[in-house]
Amino acid sequence: MTAIDFSQKIVEMIDVVKKFGDFVANDRINLTVHKGEVHSLLGENGAGKTTLVNCLYGLYRPTQGRIRIKGQEVEISDPNAAIQLGIGMVHQHFMLVDTFTVTQNIILGRETTKMMGVLDIARAEKKVAEISERYGLAINPRDKIQDISVGSQQRVEILKALYRGAEILILDEPTAVLTPQEIQELVMIIRNLTQEGKSIIIITHKLHEIKQVADYCTIIRRGKFIDTVEVDKVTEQELASMMVGREVSFAVEKKAQQKGEQILAIQDLVVKDNRGIAAVNGLNLTLHKGEILGIAGVDGNGQSELVEALTGLRKVAGGSITLRGKEITGSKPKEVINRWNIRTIPEDRQKRGLVMEFDVAENLILETYHDTPFSVRGMLNRDKIYAYADHCTQVYDIRPTNPYLTAKSLSGGNQQKVIIAREVSNDPEVLIASQPTRGLDVGAIEYVHTALVNQRDRGKAVLLISFELDEVMNVSDRIAVIFEGKIVGIVDAIGVDENEIGLMMAGGTP
């Protein structure tokens, strides 16, 4: 089945070191890839995987170390040199011009021309169609990027590399943005490519995907090389431990529940979406102290609107929300946060959770900057703010431990830690966690789950909204299923039947 030719080493990275200033992002990493091999790079967010492949693609210059391609020692000074050597890369954030067509994006930098630099688009389209057919990458060469799905955009990125004659294809977290079906298509594409003699380096932190497609796996932890293993000979559990550096539990450890009195009650809530349609349509729910209530449901059943209504971001069209018996419907976001002490881990951490251009310390005080000790008579007290941030980076393990770094320079997991630090440190009565682990790796997921469980164990209430049924079932004490803006069933998490919930999520009645 595998197409590996062990006699040919296509890529060898030897003792590669990459420093950014004093920070060592890659510390003597070794990587060998053979012809026809699928080699995965595994590591937590911020481990240095992207940095390593950027060195291979000529986007970064390694500080130290050697790179050999097909046995030849090479210096890869820029992407052009990498392309010449047959290296192609699909970046984590797609590098596509939205307003261009598929063909234009593919040929950019390697344009087919008639005379005097006049583009020959017809010939290019033919060529693109040929390649896409050969490797089974369905695409219409004339579509504009802005009009096609994310999965198609990814195929365009792969075609871009193949068009340039890539023999080594680097895929940086290719599955993060794909639907399950699209992931299966990608797996097929990868198999096709290796049959054609291409070598693949695939970055991911989803362990079952590694088991599914990769032959070998190199594990990197905090910039350091840990090991290269044959995927068939290790378990997912072992991979996870190597990646994180300790035993990881996929199951969430919880003490027995100490359920308290009711704190939040939602009655007949109606919330309209942007089109004016009732996305939340007569929803009833109660939340108790000392419990995690998980809301399971397929995306688009009113979850976002529910959270926005609870946090004061969206108008309530009907019904009521009460906190300890007190009506809080229609409160402004600031009241919700400071007066009712309801805090939120928002669905989109980059858009709503953080100000990406602000540093860690500033992000940590977004909700409390107006209080002493952070401000005194309207003036910010920088010393206090940064001292507090130093404390938070320690307690919440935010890495790197530098409160002056901008939020955008942190990895996703650490961005989430900043948000959790801010929301949890004020000891909220109710914590709303909306998709809190989206896009995070196992280590970070475990961290987030522990933070939620800690809140519950301290007798506070947690409302968890997630599209991942596994997560809802693992973390929650009670599970409410949302369908078309209503709660269609509530069950205890202990001894729950996954099929039963799945059925309710799809609108069936158990």
Binding site: D78, P79, M95, L96, D98, L108, G109, E111, T113, V118
Partner: protein, 317 residues
């Protein structure tokens, strides 16, 4: 009837005369902004070009030499803008403002130096020619001062401006270099990963925009009038900039926007000449008011190039 046709000819002719200098500059704006660099220094570049064009044309007695040198003068200011914002990642608006002061200051300084302390040049001996003048007049194909004469007997720069619109359109949409300029303006990182030199493309685009703005200035100083003076350009560069924006960053759009502005100017001059009973200072507002109305009412939402004004910096990698 004949009088009306003649009046029409007069308005169309004036429209062409006033809109074409704007067109050069506006095309320059399209080129730089499509590469992702904002250039509000167009005014200063146009001003400088007007001065250089008139001065060279005066001393060399060759309007065409003056015209080309005006372009080069504008390109020189473009180079300064590019060094500041492309290499040194300066704020593009601030650099553009500096260029505006620099262009006018430098032109006036040199003007005082070359023309005895005057802030205007002497009248040039030869203007840009009228390439089709042989067709008009007594015993020629068309009689003089008729409709055809008023509309088509125009300076060479008028025809050149329309020709350049077609050229810029073709280069931008049909050639390799044009596609790269667009890519750099939309997603410079993507272009970079494909081995395109973002810096070089932006330098080229910004300098070309300076060249075009310089031509626009000269089209005023050595074709529309026959000397440079310090009030000659007064705001035309900014109008051209606005025209580029509500032409939706497209050469053909910029052309139409410039024609609109020139048309309003034509009507203003026509009404003024007819002794229309409205104070001339009010009439002079017409082009601007019309511009605002069209901008708000007709054009609608415009989308600039995605990476416009954003600094691209790959140092430290």
């Amino acid at each position: 009837m004949e009088a009306i046709i003649k009046d029409m000819g007069f308005i169309i002719g004036t429209t062409l005369m006033y809109s074409t200098p704007l067109m050069f500059t506006s095309l320059g704006g399209v080129i730089t902004e499509r590469s992702g660099v904002v250039n509000i220094g167009l005014e200063g570049m146009m001003f400088f070009g007007a001065f250089v064009g008139a001065t060279v044309a005066y001393y060399s007695q060759s309007p065409w030499l003056g015209f080309v040198c005006a372009g080069l003068g504008g390109a020189l200011l473009g180079l300064i803008h590019a060094i500041a914002c492309v290499s040194f990642a300066a704020e593009q608006i601030v650099s553009g403002i500096a260029i505006n002061f620099l262009g006018s200051g430098f032109a006036l300084f040199l003007s005082r130096l070359f023309f005895d302390g005057a802030t205007q040049t002497l009248t040039i001996p030869k203007k840009i020619p009228l390439p089709f003048s042989f067709l008009f007049g007594e015993g020629k194909l068309f009689q003089s001062a008729g409709f055809m004469d008023l509309v088509f007997n125009r300076f060479a720069t008028v025809y050149l401006a329309f020709f350049l619109v077609a050229v810029v359109w073709f280069v931008l949409y049909k050639t390799k270099i044009g596609m790269r300029v667009q890519a750099v303006g939309e997603h410079p990182e993507a272009a970079d990963t494909l081995g395109i030199n973002v810096y070089r493309i932006r330098y080229g685009a910004v300098m070309t925009s300076g060249f075009f703005a310089g031509l626009g200035g000269a089209a005023m100083s050595i074709a529309v009038v026959s000397r440079f003076s310090n009030t000659l350009i007064s705001g035309h560069g900014f109008i051209a900039l606005a025209a580029m924006i509500f032409g939706k960053w497209k050469p053909q759009g910029a052309m139409l926007a410039c024609l609109l502005f020139g048309g309003a100017k034509g009507v203003e001059i026509y009404l003024g000449a007819k002794g229309f009973p409205v104070p001339s200072s009010l009439l002079a507002m017409l082009p601007y008011i019309l511009t605002i109305i069209v901008l708000v009412g007709v054009v609608g939402k415009t989308t600039p190039p995605a990476a416009i004004g954003r600094i691209f910096d790959k140092s430290g990698k």
